[in-house]
Symmetry: C2
Subunit: 695 residues, 2 copies
């Protein structure tokens, strides 16, 4: 470290070069016996017919107009000590059981039990609490595809029985309306969330089908899906939901069942949207309702005509996931283009550095172009998850690396930050700044909570993480693409020939990714495409079997074509210096500030890492001094921090507004340690900043 350091010498900071000598990773194969996950290869190679169907979320039909396809089966096994594998494991051991406990405690499961017993006027929580149960079932089903878990199997079986008993004869199932307001079924689609809840049930059933678990759940879901077709299918009867979600669920259910009526219903809902249907057809059933207008529900402009991302962030993003699903399954290129236009507006002007979305608390909406306040970022966890889902669908549809870049950005920052290191506390909102004396009139923004009255986020995290392995790689017409990097074994096919790849990396802490062909039966050449992330602004180095190769990426991917043999090893090394990021000049809220990133990670500065007597808000960063990665140990499982050089400028007694020249301040140099944003607020509560004012 070249610059003068004012850091407490007790904190062991070593130059990043020390990382090069880090302990070599042990082969992941040694870990297989750890918790006896179901061996996906064994399962799938035994039934060749199912081999080519992906076993995770988003499985386009053979007819779908997609550039890339998810890998067949449960192809990717994440090493449990790789970054993503550890996270997925924590989800299974902590977050998922925590969700079950809290759904029980808060009465969400009891609501369904009351409905099963035909009771009335008993209900706990939000009227859409069923969806929290369904998301948790979905998570359980995905995870049961990886590992035996008696409690999760019991959960699935018990709840499926409850649902079957609660379901009305015609297939209707919604505990709020059954218990509290049966007269108003389907009459308040703007606010009632009935189709939203139904969508989450279908998605749980999709996971059950692909995981080969919970047949009873699938029966219930099928009856409900058929009711939807019966009630809303066909001309003149169509309706839409105030909270989009049902669209992508119906398409996925179509993909699982082959019943085209579901796809057609989803397509009809996409077309109906934006024509004011909700305001015209929803009656006030006493659930409150919104004074926010049609854009809040995304019912202000037809999907094909909209050019700007707007309204409630989660709704906009879920809607777009469904739009892409419909577009690829119907081969509708103009519909896909409409979704890409929304994406361009959103990601060019309305996206936080962390990949989060939603600038406004009041209506949880996206906000204006360049309206991205770090302190008042709403940045809902569910919106980040929805963005991940949409970007994955766009990546499959187009093969364009920009979608993988956003997938990675939102995963490692906004999504990762939403959960505490213990896996049992969560942020609903993920701001990029917290002031010293934050006024928590609304919420305690400095502390993750164990649960929320509106508990949409924790089970949403659970279902994403339980299926996270499905998003690492894909197959194209003639090869395999790696999009996200974590230590893993990938067992897949080239044509009909099994291929196993072994990925070893300490990503995101180091940029070195080794991909070895562990076994192959494929004859002839095929392309192995390794993503070169958008954040990588220096040419990476690449070797194949230790031979240096041209590392020029093509459309964001390093594309290596050859007749791969067992033992072949590609090593991609992405230079990963720490960087200062400057914002677009129109981004008013962080003008005159820089942020620190390294690789895919956004870093932040917490008050707790400053010396006594130094207030975070008095810190200025020197934009001319390069930030320096440092090895740190024992701090929140973070091996690499970044040290920035700057100054402390106490504000003295300055006026809030001044017409006089402000006198130059006494300032003293300081080096400060920043940590990854995703680990903030895991120690004592205090101020935090992603954007640091410059000197």
């Amino acid at each position: 470290m070249e610059s003068t350091t004012a850091l407490d010498p007790a904190t062991a900071l070593e130059p990043a070069t020390a990382l090069e000598s880090a302990t070599a990773l042990e082969p992941a194969t040694a870990l297989e016996s750890a918790t006896a996950p179901e061996s996906t290869r064994t399962t799938e190679s035994s039934t060749r017919a199912t081999v080519h169907r992906p076993a995770g979320p988003v499985a386009p039909t053979d007819a779908a107009a997609v550039a890339l396809r998810p890998l067949a089966g449960r192809a990717v096994r994440l090493d449990p000590d790789g970054f993503l594998g550890r996270w997925q494991r924590r989800n299974a051991t902590e977050t998922l059981p925590h969700c079950v406990t809290n759904l029980e405690r808060d009465g969400a499961l009891d609501n369904l039990r009351h409905a099963a017993r035909g009771e009335r006027q008993r209900f706990s929580g939000k009227w859409f609490a069923d969806s929290d149960v369904y998301k948790t079932l979905e998570a359980a089903a995905w995870w049961l595809g990886h590992a035996d878990d008696g409690r999760l199997t019991e959960l699935l079986d018990e709840v499926a029985d409850v649902l079957a008993a609660a379901q009305r004869e015609d297939g209707y199932l919604n505990s709020w309306f059954q218990l509290m307001d049966p007269e108003h079924r389907w009459m308040n689609l703007a606010v009632g969330h009935e189709l939203y809840c139904a969508g989450h049930l279908l998605q749980a059933a999709v996971a059950a089908i692909r995981g080969g678990v919970g047949p009873r759940l699938v029966e219930v879901a099928t009856r409900l899906a058929d009711l939807l077709v019966d009630r809303f299918g066909g001309d003149g009867r169509l309706g839409i939901c105030g909270h989009p979600e049902i669209e992508t669920a119906l398409v996925e259910f179509f993909r699982c069942t082959g019943n085209r009526a579901y796809l057609e219903l989803a397509a009809g809902m996409v077309e109906l949207r934006g024509r004011g249907w909700l305001a015209e057809h929803s009656v006030d059933t006493g659930l409150g309702g919104s004074s926010f207008g049609a854009a809040y529900y995304l019912d202000h402009m037809p999907v094909r005509e909209a050019g700007a991302a707007t309204g409630h962030a989660v709704r906009q993003l879920y809607l777009e996931a469904g739009v892409v699903d419909v577009a690829v399954e119907t081969g509708d290129r103009s519909l896909l283009a409409a979704s890409e236009r929304i994406w361009e507006d959103l990601f060019a002007t309305k996206t936080y550095l962390t990949g989060a979305h939603g600038s406004r608390h009041r209506d949880e909406s996206i906000g204006d172009r360049y309206e991205l306040p770090p302190d008042r970022a709403y940045a809902e966890t569910c919106a980040a998850i929805a963005s991940f889902q949409w970007n994955w669908r766009l990546l499959l549809a187009t093969g364009r690396a920009r979608y993988a870049d956003e997938l990675e950005r939102v995963l490692y920052n906004a999504i990762a930050a939403s959960t505490a290191v213990d896996g049992r506390h969560f942020f609903y909102s993920n701001p990029l700044q917290l002031r010293v004396d934050h006024d928590g009139t609304e919420e305690d923004a400095a502390r993750r909570q164990a649960w929320y009255k509106c508990a949409c986020c924790p089970p949403n995290l659970a279902r994403l993480l339980a299926s996270l392995d499905a998003y690492l790689a894909s197959s194209g017409p003639d090869g395999i693409q790696l999009h996200l990097y974590s230590a893993a074994t990938i067992a897949t096919w080239i044509g009909d020939s099994p291929v196993e790849l072994r990925v070893d990396t300490e990503y995101p802490w180091r940029g070195r990714i080794a991909v070895a062909v562990a076994s192959t039966a494929a004859a002839g050449s095929w392309e192995l495409a390794l993503r070169v992330p958008g954040w990588c602004d220096r040419t990476p180095t690449v070797t194949v079997n230790d031979e240096p190769m041209d590392a020029e990426a093509s459309d964001g991917y390093l594309r290596l074509r050859r007749a791969w043999r067992e033992g072949d090893t590609v090593v991609l090394d992405l230079p990963m210096p720490a960087r200062l990021v400057t914002p677009h000049p129109h981004l008013d809220a962080v003008r005159g500030s820089v942020a620190i990133t390294r690789g895919p990670l956004v870093y932040c500065l917490e008050q707790v890492d400053l010396p006594d007597g130094v207030r975070l808000d008095d810190l200025r960063v020197d934009p001319a001094a390069a930030p320096i990665p440092v090895a740190i140990a024992g701090l929140l499982d973070v091996p690499v921090g970044v040290v920035a050089h700057g100054f402390v400028e106490p504000d003295g007694e300055q006026a809030l507004y001044d017409t006089r020249e402000r006198p130059p301040h006494a300032r003293r140099p300081i080096d400060v340690l920043t940590i990854p944003y995703f680990r903030w607020a895991n120690r004592e509560p205090g101020a935090m900043r992603v954007w640091l004012p410059t000197a």
Copy 2:
């Protein structure tokens, strides 16, 4: 103008020096016959007993511990062509009738008529709509103190009859609870606004008493006030309102009636506050309710212990007005000090440049220290009015100029901006920035509306403006203090001797204020104190009868003591250059930006004043170039604009976030015309900025 101008030459811009030769103002006395206002001197000098009682808002008793006192009677007559007089006149001819029309149209008056007829289950608007009626009655009563107006007299009489008929035998009066929910009287004080509505009725009655109009209204109010004492007075029965306002109303009613029970009830409410009473004692009556917690209602910390301004902005500010009223009437210095502590926190760290308060839309709350986003400023009009009321009370209590400075700032900027030039359109929220493509999911921030579903602001403006003359001057133990400057005649007393002052000024457009002693019967010397505003950072010049005087201000006032004689004339000339204002370094949201002010006025730049092809967000101001006042004509009644020098820097195709050095941009110089903030959004809707990024 020295700098190169890119302004359309068609716009007539002249150097500010041209203002010096502006047409001399005609003596205001020539205007007296215009609309035959009731001559306050005549009225009051005929009844000597009432002469020494102020006839406007806030009239401390003789026993009150105040440093300054409002002038007796209706001492100030604003010239109708002075700045404040014109505004007050517009209020009477446009805003007040507009309020009456809209209260009729929206059913707020009908609610009371239904209650008078003993009907049930008929109600329009918000459950606290009575308060909008009462504020309008208050405005009418204040204005009838100035001018005959048959329609307003009829209104007062008719509504007083309706109220008398609607009032229950025990004195209860609240149309929402009477019509819709009589079982829950006083049971939901957190949300019900019953005491808030009662407070506004008392304030209307105070105006009626001081204006000598509407005796029937006073009877109704007295019965309700006595019910409050009966219901809430005494140990163990006390309650508080979720929306403070009743406190100041009770003290004012005590001041009018001499009934100390009202003061004691108000004092008890102030003491009870902040102990969680509302959460413990309020039942959910289906009005919704707030999940915002105790601070939202200002029930989180005892008033004497609170050190930070927090919670719902209007509630915090109304509460503090009541706190000061109680403190001065009970001689409680520690209570006054508690209010001054809140003031110091608020005005040092949580106040917009326009004097507005409230940084958050979601819960209409004040926000963190230095959390002052210009674009998402909530800055509610009612909060600005409440700030004005509180600052006036603090000014009387202490005589400190800092309160007069804030009185002026909020009046000329936040309050003035809330009404359109037509006097019939209003902003509820007063942001300091509007982006080019503002996403009005919530509201149309670019256009003032004729009325609001929650119509608290327009009638609040009406009552303030109808009594605006009362805030210009005060009397101290030994003289007269002028706080706000506008052309006016001031007829008051020094001891028992009548004195008439004549104020001539074009303030806020010019800094020259001439104060002539038009007549005097006072013997001996007394002090004439003229406020030297805090914005004035150059020594003003002063002459008395053309003799230069030492212009050193003492505690914000130029204090001139002598045996004043008829014809004596003081001319205070406040240098009024245009200024660039820089924000405190902790004020993140406007870092790297400057604002333009001149005198008490904040200026802003609107898209409509930029040449075709120049986008407001591409503008940079040169902080080294002094802004230049220019005479403008025919633009929204604004005689003085300010020209700033800067550059246009088109953003090109820059990334939202970038790790590379941004290339230097082609930029071209430009001079831009800024207009007073209070006149923004009176032409075609478009982008606006108060804070302009620097080059």
